[in-house]
């Protein structure tokens, strides 16, 4: 199993290297190499997952390669194989595979076609590195590599100004998170002097609540660690207040938005917290914080989605909102539910993005939904796929999204977190609204495409683009139904996640079984809100039977993303510019470059030049040096003894 996992892990890396070497070759090579390497990973993950469940294995942590083993820390490459990592890797590789396949067509006219696949392959590798890591250092490395590939892909079109600034923003925000992660890592090293997950899990039971004193404040080290790590997760998973980079990151190619900024990378934070659930269970206050952050994100960023007009941005805000659900689930100690929503969300959100990509291609890179309309006839397949994905997103009963999202909301309510529950509940409404906004505006009404292209109506899009839509529809809609029961009974993530008993009790007392949950849902307020939302949007967006004028103030607040917009658009660049200018001019150039580095190197160089003259080339000097050294040693020894 270990060997297979290693192959699974390095297959994308090898793909990347091969791609690098044949960068100048034809596109065929790139397509072949990238798709096959991901395919290998995908098949292997499924196979290993099957092996894992069929053989009733227990989680195992294997150190494959040791690079360094110092008292302070050990640096090694290890694998953590358990249901959590295997499920996650299956999700990552499957979405990645489909997106790769999709990109063949989507990117076919791009000049940097080969470069694109290098990045995506590399991304897949880095993500798998995080998924399978069994220690914090490896996690951190993977974390940074993922950030790097995301950075590269957001700015994939290097000539596009907005892409560059989005790129920059994403980079900046992720740094904030990285600082948190890094501090957490340091704190872990300080308090546990190991980075291995298992060892830390074991230690925490014995000295769980060791307190630290810093600046006179005393607090639990574990809580501090978890808090810092969560800051890292917040940046990566776009939680308030570090969420504003994600909408901008839609500047990258759409497949990338599907793969990285919807399905996989942004969930890394969720995954990490779930992975470390045994630690989070022991903290005090951190979970509540997480819960509130999650629900705030879910509600308020959902609102923002309402006022957007760019199709990709809307879906991006929706992603943030959905991530908020997951975070809230984490905060309520419902780790398996969070993972469940992560999985279903990965599929339906990827599907949504791919549909959006299909639309965008068809409309010649027009992304404003006000200018797109009436595509239902033109793109039937995309239409259907989008429909199913939307149903899943809004949580229409029986779809995957229904099971995952409604469970979270109900469970949060069930365990008595009233305010988050209300916020999550309300955001069902907003979700419904913005989803149907896209849906109705894009697919209904008068066709916006120019007449001349109507000849092409027969061909909706390339087959390579449509196949993934088909394939993804299945898990996006039905996956939830199949895995809901085993998941809720705690079978799926047995031994991997802490606090399974909460979910199980919720299941036993509230859900009973999936069918029951389905039937029951029609009687809940959730469905009511959903239904209201649908009715409302049907009339508002489709029939346009009435018009609502939102007060300008509120609209402005929402449009400006509660001030984050200006923060990100205006203040941060300016502050950043000033600070970096200061760092560059005053600190880097004059102090470090000239003062430290150049002077040091000058000093050392001149020292070297001077001492070089000691090597005179004369035998008598040489012999003198040797004899003097000998005498020196003798004298030292004579004195010492």
């Amino acid at each position: 199993m270990t060997a297979l996992t290693i192959i699974l892990l390095i297959s994308p890396l090898i793909g990347t290297l091969l791609l690098l070497t044949c960068q100048n070759r034809s596109k065929k090579y790139s397509i072949l190499i990238s798709n096959i390497s991901i395919l290998i990973s995908f098949l292997l993950s499924l196979f290993i997952l099957y092996l894992y469940y069929s053989s009733n294995s227990v989680p195992q942590s294997i150190n494959v390669l040791t690079f360094a083993d110092i008292k302070l820390f050990s640096l090694y490459f290890g694998l953590y194989i358990d249901s959590l990592s295997l499920v996650m890797s299956s999700v990552v590789t499957s979405v990645s595979l489909l997106v790769h396949y999709y990109s063949i067509s989507y990117m076919k006219h791009d000049r940097s076609f080969n470069r694109f696949f290098i990045y995506t392959n590399f991304f897949t590798f880095s993500m798998l590195l995080i998924v399978f890591s069994n220690n914090f250092l490896q996690l951190f490395i993977g974390w940074e590599l993922v950030g790097l590939s995301s950075y590269l892909l957001i700015g994939f079109w290097i000539k596009k100004e907005s892409a560059i600034s989005a790129n920059y923003k994403a980079f900046l925000v992720n740094r904030v998170g990285d600082v948190g992660l890094l501090l957490g890592l340091c704190l872990i090293l300080l308090s546990y002097s190991t980075t291995d997950y298992n060892q830390i899990f074991e230690i925490k039971n014995s000295i769980d609540m060791d307190r630290m004193d810093i600046f006179g404040y005393s607090f639990s080290a574990l809580s501090a660690i978890c808090m810092l790590l969560f800051i890292g997760a917040m940046a990566k998973s776009a939680q308030v207040p570090l969420q504003f980079w994600l909408p901008d990151s839609m500047e990258g190619p759409t497949p990338i938005s599907a793969l990285i900024h919807a399905a996989t990378m942004v969930t890394a934070g969720i995954y990490m917290v779930a992975r470390l659930s045994p630690l989070y269970e022991l903290t005090d206050g951190v979970l509540i914080f997480i819960l509130y952050i999650g629900s705030i994100t879910a509600f308020f960023l959902g609102l923002v989605a309402l006022v957007q007009n760019d199709i990709k941005r809307i879906i991006a805000y929706s992603t943030i909102s959905q991530l908020g659900y997951m975070t809230a689930a984490l905060g309520a100690s419902l780790y398996s539910l969070a993972m469940f929503h992560l999985i279903t969300h990965a599929f339906f959100k990827a599907l949504l993005f791919l549909c959006a990509g299909s639309i965008i291609i068809k409309c010649h890179h027009e992304q404003d939904i006000r200018k797109i309309a009436g595509l239902r006839k033109v793109m039937p397949i995309t239409y259907l796929a989008f429909l199913y994905a939307s149903l899943s997103l809004i949580g229409f009963p029986l779809t995957s999204g229904f099971y995952s999202k409604e469970s979270i909301i109900d469970a949060v309510g069930y365990f008595g977190h009233t305010i988050p529950y209300l916020m999550l509940l309300l955001s069902i409404f907003t979700t419904t609204l913005y989803t149907s906004k896209i849906f109705f505006k894009v697919f209904f009404g008068k066709c916006s495409l120019p007449k001349s292209e109507e000849n092409n109506f027969k061909i909706e899009n390339d087959r390579q683009m449509l196949l993934p839509l088909f394939v993804l529809t299945a898990p996006a809609v039905f996956l939830g139904l199949f895995i809901y029961d085993p998941l809720m009974m705690g079978l799926l993530f047995q031994d991997s996640l802490a606090a399974n008993e909460l979910t199980i009790s919720f299941y036993n007392n509230y859900v009973i079984n999936s069918l029951n949950f389905f039937l029951h849902s029609f009687m809940t307020i959730n469905f009511l809100i959903l239904f209201a939302g649908l009715i409302f949007s049907y009339f508002y967006f489709y029939k346009r039977s009435f018009d609502i004028s939102i007060p300008r103030f509120i609209r402005a607040v929402i449009e400006k993303e509660y001030g984050f917009d200006s923060l990100s658009r205006y203040f941060i660049p300016r502050i950043q510019n000033n600070i970096s200018r200061f760092l560059w001019k005053d600190i880097d150039i004059s102090t470090i470059d000239n003062g430290l580095i150049n002077n040091t190197s000058n000093i050392i160089n001149s020292l070297s030049n001077k001492v070089k003259k000691l090597q005179t080339g004369y035998i008598y000097h040489y012999s003198l040096i040797i004899i003097s050294a000998l005498i020196l040693l003798l004298i030292i020894m004579r004195i010492a003894h």
Binding site: K612, K613, Q615, T616, G617, Y618, I619, Y620, H621, S623, L624, I627
Partner: protein, 101 residues
Amino acid sequence: MIPISYYLILSTIIFTLSIAGIFINRKNILVLLMSLELMFLSVNFNLITLGNYLGDLTGQVFVFFVLTVVAAESAIGLALLIVLFRNKKSIDVDDLSELKG
């Protein structure tokens, strides 16, 4: 019976003289080679003296080998000297400074 330390002091003096010979000599590499011969002579002195003191023949055997090796060594050294002279037309110690820095 002569005290053993006399011999040792004598050999040390010769040893130091030969070392001094190596670095006070600025003229002639041949003399350097001769200084080296002196050095080995003094070491042999040491070995023989100590062997005599210990009543052990190992010292003398050692000296025998040292004599053999040093003879071969000086043969090679003189050969190198000849090669050097052919190349440089000089065996001044001062001229040996092309390699430096």
